[in-house]
Structures are given as structure tokens and as C-alpha cells.
Symmetry: C2
Subunit: 248 residues, 2 copies
């Protein structure tokens, strides 16, 4: 039976502090819960509506999680979605583990990208372009924030993230670092190798002074109109697209 205390506990995972302390998080909605159940995450509980249960009976049966059929109202009372007629699942978060970088693959590094929606969208973009590794500065949005996971549309299950001091990582890696600047070489003219680090800056301030000196290639997305800048997730997508098309 699903107790009131369990529901209260799941709801408390909306707070970052509790997520860190318990090393647990939750995801909501059909797409994310289904992707989570198909991933290597350790899922402890799944709450789902009758309708979701019908469509995903096999997946739920195969899971080692405790499963509970609940009402839509219950899902909405514990989760962060205004409307959720599908499911919510609790899983164990992964430890913050260094990622290995080699010269023949691409890694995205984010310098204080703070908006959870932006981080989630960037994770989805990385996954679309086959980039599985992200380096995040300590001040970046938290990976297990429900808004990040939601915006990632399930792609969070396929990327590795490492929160770290970017400066020292860059020094250790010794790889080419392509940084997004408003003044740099046109991305249409740039030659990209087989791999390296794509560095994107904070929403308001761009790439910090401290990291600017680590950048080996300053790259610009050409502008044809008058907008002052592009959203950081949009700019990341254009970087990935140009890099991948040039290596095709």
C-alpha cells in the first residue's frame, strides 16, 4: 500500500536539499517515466494511472520498483506538473563521477547555465547530436531539478554529466576548446576536427573571463538581423549542427 508518508516523502523531493541528502529524484509524465524504466537507473517507486498501466504493463512488470496504481489527482499532488495523467517515478541519482575525454569525441561544457529549462533542452540537443558527455560548472542548474529532467524529454537517461571546476578540467584535458562568442570566427568558415570541447556561457554574461583564456577557438554564429543574442540552448544546437555537418 502507498502510505501518506511515502507520498509526503516523494513530494519533499521537489526540494534540492532533500534530493541531495537522499540521493533520490523523481521524473514525471509518460515519456520520461518510460525512458527511465528502460534505462540503467535504479528505480524505487512508480506511481501510475490505470491508463498508463495498461499501455506499459510489461515494462512495469520487468521493473524491480514498487509499483502503485494511483489517481491523476495523487500524481498531481506529489509532483511538479499541473497536469499529469500518466506516471511519476522515483529513482536513485548517480554520483558525480569524472568523465573521460578523448580527442575523437565531442563534449559540451556549460559555464553557469542557470535556467533549468535551458539545461534540459541542451541535454536533449546533445542526445540528438550523439553527444553523451557534459561538463558543468558548479554553479550550473542542478541536473535532477524536475524542470531539467522534464525539458530533456527522456534524454537525461543517455548523457553523463560531471559538475566540476571547468578551468582545471580544461587544463587537464588538453583538447581544443571551441567557445561561443559574439565576436569570433564565423562558424560557417571554421574547421572542426574529430572532437573537442564546445563551451557555452551563462545566459546573461556569456563565458567568464577566467575561462575565456582557455578557449582555443573563438566561434561566432553569423547574424543576419538585429536580435542582440540567441538563447544559449539555441546557440548550442547551432554549434552541434554545424560541427556534425562538417564531419559528415
Amino acid at each position: 500500500m502507498l502510505s501518506k508518508n511515502t507520498l509526503k516523502f516523494i513530494k519533499s523531493l521537489q526540494q534540492k536539499k532533500i534530493r541531495k541528502q537522499e540521493q533520490l529524484f523523481f521524473v514525471e509524465g509518460s515519456k520520461n517515466v518510460t525512458e527511465l524504466l528502460q534505462s540503467d537507473y535504479e528505480v524505487s517507486q512508480v506511481l501510475f494511472t490505470q491508463q498508463y498501466g495498461k499501455g506499459h504493463a510489461e515494462l512495469l512488470k520487468r521493473s524491480n520498483a514498487d509499483i502503485f496504481e494511483v489517481s491523476q489527482t495523487t500524481l498531481e499532488s506529489v509532483g511538479s506538473f499541473q497536469s499529469n495523467d500518466a506516471a511519476l517515478a522515483v529513482a536513485k541519482s548517480k554520483p558525480n563521477t569524472p568523465i573521460e575525454m578523448t580527442s575523437d569525441e565531442w563534449v559540451i561544457a556549460l559555464d553557469d547555465v542557470k535556467d533549468p529549462g535551458n539545461l534540459g533542452t541542451i541535454i536533449r540537443i546533445a542526445d540528438w547530436y550523439g553527444i553523451q558527455k557534459l561538463l558543468l560548472s558548479e554553479e550550473s542548474a542542478e541536473f535532477y531539478n524536475p524542470k531539467v529532467l522534464h525539458a530533456s524529454m527522456g534524454s537525461f537517461t543517455r548523457v553523463k554529466v560531471f559538475y566540476t571546476d571547468l578551468k582545471s578540467q580544461f587544463e587537464k584535458a588538453g583538447l581544443p576548446i571551441y567557445g561561443a562568442f559574439l565576436e569570433g570566427e564565423s562558424i560557417y568558415e571554421s574547421k572542426f576536427g574529430k572532437g573537442g570541447i564546445i563551451l557555452m556561457g551563462n545566459e546573461s554574461n556569456g563565458i567568464s573571463r577566467e575561462l575565456e583564456s582557455s578557449v582555443t577557438h573563438k566561434i561566432t554564429i553569423p547574424r543576419f538581423g538585429k536580435a542582440e543574442s540567441l538563447n544559449v540552448a539555441v546557440a548550442t544546437a547551432i554549434f552541434c549542427d554545424n560541427i556534425k555537418r562538417s564531419s559528415k
Copy 2:
């Protein structure tokens, strides 16, 4: 003097119904208010903090609007922002006027893009790539929704939008229509002319069956990883970028 009734009235413009009825809207934050004051919009009121006033004295003086120095608390009490230490301005909305389309320019058409953040981001992208005309299906998000204007980061002042029945517009225009589909010709291989219509579909359902038959070129953004799809604003940016780079 700024009366309580005026504040109440401005606050009521958070509702779409009132915006439509009064043909007025508001924008918030330094960037959007400044861009609005520099545009051809008819601004009726500007509420601003002492700090914003100091930095924009000339601009405020040149305006025909009623201007009021207020506290940050007042700004936050009438507007939609959680935090606003700069300004809020009320302006007259523009009538829904047909846009002319010629064969040597690009127009973005949106088939039921419902999320205000997506619409605002697409407007910012259009403005970056020098695309000034947007055709929107009647069911698309409302241009003057505060979330749309906010996400546009001032670019809303430089685009023309026309809410209309897309099907009949497409028939009238007789232009090439490039539609974003998951299965089509690779955007890397596509030949783009000097102009045409870029058609993007709804967040969940893509381009509707009804409009699919109007599409003259089905185009796909190549995928290298496993994400099921890209966010519609991100996909729009990649379309614009590929089209503009090919015509450079």
C-alpha cells in the same frame, strides 16, 4: 499621479480577454521596455524605477507616454515577473494585418505552436536571421502574451505577424514551402532558393495532415544520437541557420 485604478487596469492586461478587448498589452524588464520605446509602437504608460530612469532619461523624455517613477514592489505587483527592478510599459497592440510575401524573402509559418516560450524564442531567432514575417495559425500562442514578449527579448518589435488560415495563405502565395518532418530530405543536402516559407509544426503533433499536402519540400534535420525529436524553437533555428548559410 498614478492611481490605484490605473495599476488595477494594467494588472488586468495579464488576461488575454482584456488585452483583446482594450487592444493594449504590456512588456516588462529593461531590455523589452527599452526596445519598445525605440520602436514604432504607441506607448501609453511607462512605470520605471529610479535606477532605470537614470539610465534612460533621454528615451523617457522623448516618449509621448505618461511616465511614472515607481518602486520595484509596484512593478512586481502589476506585472507577471517575480522580480523586476527596471520597468514596465503599456502599449497599443497592432491590428492583425495580412503580410505580403515575395519569392525572394523568407517567411516562417507556425502550425499551432502553443507554448508562449517557444513562440517568443522563435521570434528572437527570426530576428537574428533577418526574417521579419511570421504566419501563425489561429490556434497558435498569442503574440501579446507576456511570456511570448519576454522570451522574444525585444525582437517582437521587429517582426510582423499575421494570424490566419495557413492553408489558404499557402494556396494564395504559390511559394515553395519547406516543412520540418522527421522523414524527409536531409537539410544538409537540400537546395534552398532565395525565399519561401519555412513551416514548423505543433509541439506534440508536428505539421497537421491538412497542411502536409501543401508542403513542396519535406526536410529533415539529421539525427546522430537517440533523442526522439528536437524542441520546435531549436528546430526552427537549425532551419534558419542552414538556409542562411546556403545563401551566403
